[in-house]
């Protein structure tokens, strides 16, 4: 079981309010991702749940039990840190066994569990090495191994992939998702990378300055962002936000249109502009378009290879049914 309920939780450091009163429900077995720009309080929120920081006020319940005052060790949670926080002087085996040893488990039971975790994570070949002799991805797996042997109620991940290179990150992302499917344990995952959030989450929590901007499944957030901030944060490349006369035509203060919802053509379309930088990815091409009188630059995605060059005039046709409208406060209209 791994239900976590935060009610009216706040956190202040001195005079600075990092988390204003916040409510959140995390259900058993969910993969919840906290996402937001740096300094938005997402790591602090995770540390509050872990018990590494004390809440200023409010209540944290884990499986219906009030855990607000419990020390971290007694909350039944396991955490994977950004720096992995492996114990450098212990072998992989001892690292993974450490929480079990602290729980005073029998040698035989410890060995069984460590071997099991090592085989799940493909660590068996490195089991007698020290962390210093492992690569980044392997260290990451050891850190996860140390978390899973305890069979915790929930896993907490604090930006676990940010120290890995891009290729490895994609691989580890899949492995963690796979692990979640297999263990079906609650996971709370903090990241600033919206791609990680979109690909892994059952439920995304978008945070800004300690406030929850929106909670929902990745596609809900993609289809119906509740406000301009979420609209700009979710999706890659980011949504084009257009103000002025064009927005007023749609009866809104700001309209948003995703780069993938605009068709481009060399001859006709309601909007036009001049091609700036074109990023050719092979499968897609992203154009940054200037002098359109809309947003500068406008980003547009075209599928496959499209041969516009720098300085070419380009015409754009938005899919009007996929235009997002926001009012002066930046809230979504309808």
């Amino acid at each position: 079981m791994g239900n976590i309920t935060l009610s009216q939780v706040t956190k202040t450091f001195g005079d600075v309010e990092v988390i204003p009163p916040l409510d959140l429900q995390i259900n058993d077995g969910e993969f919840v991702v906290f996402v937001g720009p740096s300094g938005c309080g997402k790591s602090t929120l995770l540390r509050l749940i872990a018990g590494l920081e004390d809440v200023t006020s409010g209540k944290i319940e884990i499986d219906g039990q009030n855990a607000t005052e419990l020390p971290p060790a007694r909350r039944g949670l396991a955490m994977v840190f950004q720096s992995y926080a492996l114990y450098p002087h212990m072998t992989v085996r001892k690292n993974i066994a450490f929480p079990l040893k602290m729980a005073k488990m029998s040698e035989a039971e410890i060995k069984k569990r460590v071997d099991h975790a090592a085989s799940i994570l493909n660590l068996s070949d490195y089991i007698d090495r020290r962390p210093g002799q492992l690569s980044g991805g392997q260290r990451q797996r050891v850190a996860i191994g140390r978390a899973i042997v305890r069979e915790p109620a929930a896993f907490l991940f604090d930006e676990p992939l940010s120290n890995l290179d891009a290729a490895l990150r994609v691989g580890m992302r899949l492995e963690i998702s796979e692990l979640h499917k297999r263990l079906a344990t609650t996971m709370v995952y903090v990241t600033h990378d919206q791609v990680e959030a979109m690909t892994m989450a059952d439920k995304i929590v978008v945070l800004r300055a300690g406030n929850i901007e929106q909670v929902g499944s990745p596609l809900e957030l993609y289809r119906t962002p509740r406000n301009k901030f979420v609209a700009g944060f979710i999706g890659s490349p980011t949504m084009n936000l257009i103000e002025g006369p064009e927005a007023q035509k749609h009866g809104a203060h700001t309209i948003g249109i995703r780069p993938e919802h605009i068709e481009v053509s060399a001859s006709d379309g309601p909007w036009q502009g001049v091609v700036g930088v074109a990023e050719h990815l092979g499968s897609d091409t992203f154009f940054h378009i200037h002098d359109s009188g809309l947003a500068d630059p406008m980003t547009v995605r075209a599928s496959g290879e499209v041969s516009f060059r720098h300085g070419d005039r380009i015409y754009m046709t938005p899919r009007t049914d996929l235009i997002h409208k926001f009012d002066t406060q930046g809230q979504r209209i309808a």
Binding site: P72, A73, A78, M79, A85, Y87, F98, P99, M102
Partner: protein
């Protein structure tokens, strides 16, 4: 330092330092060896010729030799234990966030700036004096008979004085080591259910092992040759005659340069034996 040219330039540039260092070390060493094979009594006839290994045999068979080795080792060992145990504890304490941290840290380092002679005199006259010393007053305040530190507990007193001087050094090195510990490791251990003592034993102490090794080695080198503390307190009496002090007595009090030089060679051998032992025990902490 890749090309032939830059390598030879580097060698040329390093020459003066190497020559100076070699001279600094080799000249005294060779002179010691030279005198150790001579009967040389400056006030009783001067250079009386070569005597072979007689000085070595006499120094070794003297009844004062083995006790001096013993007291040397007791002092070195005692100071090492005290400075490292209390150094670790003090470093842990100073690592805690507190008001006036900077000032406190400077105060802790202060004893290291006091010259050995001065600190020994201060301890002898202001603390350990059985009539006027602070400790004597303290004992009297509780109605006890003041302790005659330097005559009844002479070795312990010297260990205390030297430890007081070297504790700041150990604390400083260990403090920097503690500060370099990744706080996420401690948090991970906390999440893993390790209580404070286990966190100390499993995370902090192993992290400090290298720093402790360094403190151990550096202090040993300096402690084997302590002299001023003994010279101004007990003058080598009451079992505080270390090997260094014995050599001093042979050369300057007995005016027997040859005998003292032979003792000096023994001191070099002793230092090397201790160093080899230490390297064996703790040296593996230095690699990896």
């Amino acid at each position: 330092m890749a090309t032939q040219h830059s390598r030879s330039a580097a060698q040329f540039m390093m020459m003066p330092a190497v020559v100076l260092l070699l001279g600094w070390m080799l000249v005294p060493l060779v002179m010691t060896l030279y005198f150790s094979f001579k009967k040389y009594l400056p006030l009783r006839g001067g250079d009386l010729g070569w005597v072979g290994f007689e000085n070595y045999a006499r120094f070794l068979s003297s009844s004062t030799f083995w006790p001096s080795v013993q007291s040397t080792l007791i002092i070195v060992g005692g100071v090492l234990v005290i400075t490292i145990v209390f150094g670790v504890l003090l470093a842990l304490l100073l690592d805690q966030p507190m008001w006036g941290q900077g000032v406190v840290r400077i105060l802790v380092i202060a004893p290291f700036f006091v010259m050995p002679t001065v600190s020994a005199l201060v301890w002898k006259n202001m603390f350990m004096d059985p009539v006027n010393g602070l400790l004597a007053h303290l004992w009297k305040f509780f109605g006890a008979q003041p302790v005659e530190w330097l005559s009844n507990y002479s070795l312990f007193s010297i260990i205390l004085i030297v430890s007081w001087q070297w504790l700041p050094f150990a604390t400083l090195i260990l403090l920097t080591a503690i500060q370099s510990l990744d706080s996420e490791q401690l948090e991970a251990a906390e999440m893993d259910g390790a209580p404070p003592l286990s966190r100390f034993g499993y995370i902090i102490l192993p992290h400090l092992s290298r720093a402790i090794t360094i403190v151990l080695l550096i202090q040993t080198i300096f402690l084997l040759s302590i002299f001023a503390e003994i010279f101004v307190t007990t003058q080598g009496s009451f079992g505080t005659r270390t090997l260094t002090y014995l050599i001093y007595q042979r050369v300057l009090e007995s005016q027997n340069v040859g005998l003292g030089s032979a003792g000096g060679v023994y001191a070099i051998i002793l230092a090397n034996i201790v160093a080899i032992f230490l390297m064996r025990i703790v040296g593996k902490n230095l690699d990896a």
